[in-house]
Amino acid sequence: MPYDKNERDDVHRINPRPVGEQEQDSSQQNQSYQQQSYQEQNYQQQGYQQQNYQQQNDSYVAPPSSNLVWAILSTLFCCLPFGIVSIVYASKVESFWSIGQREAAYDASNKAKKWAIWAALSAVILWIVYIFIFIFLGVTASTIDNANIY
């Protein structure tokens, strides 16, 4: 998880310690960190408080890649509208992240990636199928020799 480290930074920012005291209080510090994680578990059990907790940390963490580049590329080059599905999921990444629903944002990011890959793959697969039909049925070039087809 990319935001574990940042939560620890958050702890240090709230309770800044002088340098000399750090070694003495290391056990106490550990304890306070454990308390923090215990509180976090409590937050995760309660739905709306979890959102509040995540919203506080939003400025410390970058959102996941929306994979929008691949989504747009697949609509540019592939005929099939699977890339549109990818764009829809990519747009959900940002909006889920802005309301603090991190798991949903990561989920949408992965789905956007998956649909963009399938958009590209389906075009390749269909082209291979086309070549096989072309070879096995013995369709001559003249029957489909239409310049506007590409």
Binding site: S66, L76, V88, N148, I149
Partner: protein, 127 residues
């Protein structure tokens, strides 16, 4: 793991280079075989939103920009938008206002709406 992560960084530029040489040499308008054909076009006889991009790439590589646009007018909109997305996602990820614009759902829904509008209009007006 390290090798696996570096595969796209090597493969993508090589693929772009090979495709560039291929489309520079081969003219899709005259070469009928060995060029990927639009399956949608083959099955339905109507044009898909991306039809014409291979001819457009060939024209761009030979310096004919206006001719390239005439094969697919949607490139006026989609290629600048793609470059903006590339800029906001990969090159300047820290620019939040640009990222907020390109990833905003209204922007993307507008793009999707124009995509389908272009799909219908190009078949109605035979562009």
């Amino acid at each position: 793991m390290k090798i696996r992560r570096n595969i796209p960084r090597i493969l993508i530029p090589v693929a772009i280079l090979v495709a560039g040489i291929f489309y520079y040499v081969v003219n899709p308008t005259t070469a009928s075989l060995f060029i990927p054909k639009c399956v949608w076009r083959l099955l339905t006889g109507t044009q898909c939103p991306a039809c014409g991009f291979q001819r457009a790439v060939h024209s761009v590589l030979h310096g004919h920009f206006v001719e390239a646009l005439s094969y697919n007018y949607f490139f006026i909109l989609s290629i600048p938008f793609f470059l903006l997305v590339l800029l906001s996602d990969r090159i300047l990820p820290s620019n939040n206002s640009l990222r907020r614009f390109t990833h905003h759902r209204y922007t993307l829904y507008t793009y999707i709406f124009l995509f389908f509008a272009w799909w219908i209009l190009r078949n109605v007006w035979n562009m």
